[in-house]
């Protein structure tokens, strides 16, 4: 059985009928664990992995109601960057980006992290002021960032429309060269396999139907595969965080919204970087398979349905054509939606709660994928030590009471 991935094992497997060991064993839950992680997405699996690897807690179960990586991990546009405005946010995302840069080796699983660079376009004077502010903050924080003008963008992306006559002409952009995209399933499976190898039980098709709380302490969970006990429970269930909170008698400052994306039919490589535009509401990259991966905006209403309004998707198509008119005759192959949990200040909650032993990692909104390893890492330390990891401190849920919001979207800018 080939366990470790290497050229040597590929050769051996090729000669012996692909005798690979199980990456994700089929497991029935034990009755008790030290820690239960609810949610087998990238963040949850990463949490379990770092608990086992760095915190010495191996008796961990990840319970997932469907299949691992089937939530937002598998439904996003896989953009990775760390060029956030606020120090608290950029530190957290930069921590994640640094982990991304070594994650394939660490996990012995190629997650195909492709550092093809990320452009965030500006289309107005105020956009450009905001970009200057953010880039300068990034540089001071040691995050690679640079402001480029429309000509430089055109040189790097010849197919982009930099016409001054566009409805919202491209005036410039921030560029982060270390940013890029990764294979979304890869990161979930890579963490799952590595965690499994460290003794973590990954239990799929196991839905949590109740969280048991006694005298202000968590005791365990009731699931579709029976009761599982644990003194510490981490909830990492994105769109369904409010549902889990309710089970424990809590409320969260979170709303679940549909976020949609779509892909084109696969073409030969034509777009070699990632382009995002908040102003016209569209972002785009081309996957290694050749399809254009396009993100749209969120719907304003609450939903748990993994689908949203057509006008949002059609607007995103129009936005992409504003940026790349040559894609007009390219066809959309598939569209889908995820459920994002949106926090009022567009920053996550990584926090203990009023219930002892119960921790939440949620509220990542539209941008959680890029944080996957960092989120798992700081959350694992937070659970293991019952004390927030320093990078997670600003993301305590109490900030909504104290007013210490991080307000990442504050810099979105209001026109005058």
């Amino acid at each position: 059985m080939q366990k470790k991935y290497s050229w040597y094992s590929l050769l051996k497997a090729g000669l012996s009928g692909q005798d690979w060991d199980q990456a994700i064993p089929l497991i029935q839950p034990k009755s008790k664990y030290d820690v239960i992680i609810i949610g087998g997405g990238g963040h949850g699996l990463a949490t379990a992995y770092y608990l086992a690897k760095e915190c010495g807690i191996n008796n961990v179960a990840v319970v997932e109601k469907g299949y691992i990586g089937g939530g937002n991990t598998g439904r996003n546009t896989t953009i990775i960057r760390s060029n956030y405005l606020r120090d608290e946010a950029s530190s957290l995302y930069e921590h994640a980006l640094k982990l991304w840069e070594g994650i394939s080796e660490d996990l012995n699983f190629n997650v195909m992290f492709s550092q093809r660079g990320v452009y965030n376009l500006g289309h107005s004077l105020q956009n450009m002021r905001d970009i200057e502010r953010r880039v300068n903050a990034n540089v001071l924080n040691g995050v690679d960032a640079v402001v480029v003008d429309a000509n430089e963008i055109k040189q790097q992306i010849p197919i982009i429309n930099t016409s001054k006559n566009a409805r919202y002409p491209i005036m410039g952009a921030s560029y982060q060269s270390r940013g890029g995209v990764a294979r979304h399933d890869g990161i979930a499976w890579g963490f799952a396999r590595a965690a499994s190898m460290l003794g973590v039980d990954i239990i799929q098709d196991c839905e949590v139907i109740d969280i048991e709380v006694e005298e202000g302490r968590v005791k365990g969970v009731k699931t579709t595969k029976g009761e599982i006990m644990a003194d510490r429970i981490g909830c990492v269930s994105a769109g369904h965080s409010s549902v889990l909170a309710k089970m424990a008698g809590l409320r969260l400052p979170i709303e679940s919204h549909p976020l949609q994306a779509f892909v084109s039919e696969a073409m030969k490589p034509v777009l070699h970087t990632v382009v995002m535009s908040n102003a016209v509401h569209g972002y785009i990259s081309q996957s290694d398979k050749g399809d254009l991966v396009i993100g749209a905006g969120i719907d304003g209403y609450n939903s748990y349905a993994q689908r949203g309004s057509t006008k949002i998707v059609e607007h995103a198509a129009a936005a992409i054509l504003e940026l790349f008119p040559i894609f007009s005759r390219v066809r959309m192959n598939r569209q889908w939606g995820g459920i994002v949990d949106v926090c009022p200040d567009a920053c996550p909650i990584i926090s203990p709660t009023n219930v002892e032993g119960l921790y939440f990692n949620c509220g990542w909104g539209t941008g959680g994928f890029k944080a996957t390893p960092g989120s798992g890492h700081v959350f694992a330390h937070t659970i293991a030590q019952d004390k927030q990891h320093p990078l997670a401190e600003p993301f305590h849920i109490d900030r909504f009471k104290t007013g210490a919001l991080i307000d990442e979207h504050g810099a979105a800018g209001v026109a005058h």
Binding site: S242, V243, R251, L252, N302, Y304, A305, F400, K401
Partner: protein, 94 residues
Amino acid sequence: MLLIHCPYCKESRDQSEFSPAGEAFIARPKSPEGISDEEWADYVFYRTNHKGNHWEQWVHSNGCRKYFLVERSTISHQILQVAPFGARNSETEL
């Protein structure tokens, strides 16, 4: 795309005529200065975020500009009922 019945226009129209306006029945505290920071935060930030039948506010923004109440399933998106403002003040009240 939802099809929404405006209780004022008394017509079912495409969602593109309307704008969502958040969870319903979140009343502004009568005396904000008289409540704790925690209670104030609960009003400003915390939401029930129902999975299931959910009361929310919509405004007929490209129509009569009236706000009204909608009970909609956040699982199936089916709209169960609509009501003008003031017709009810909580989920249970009829």
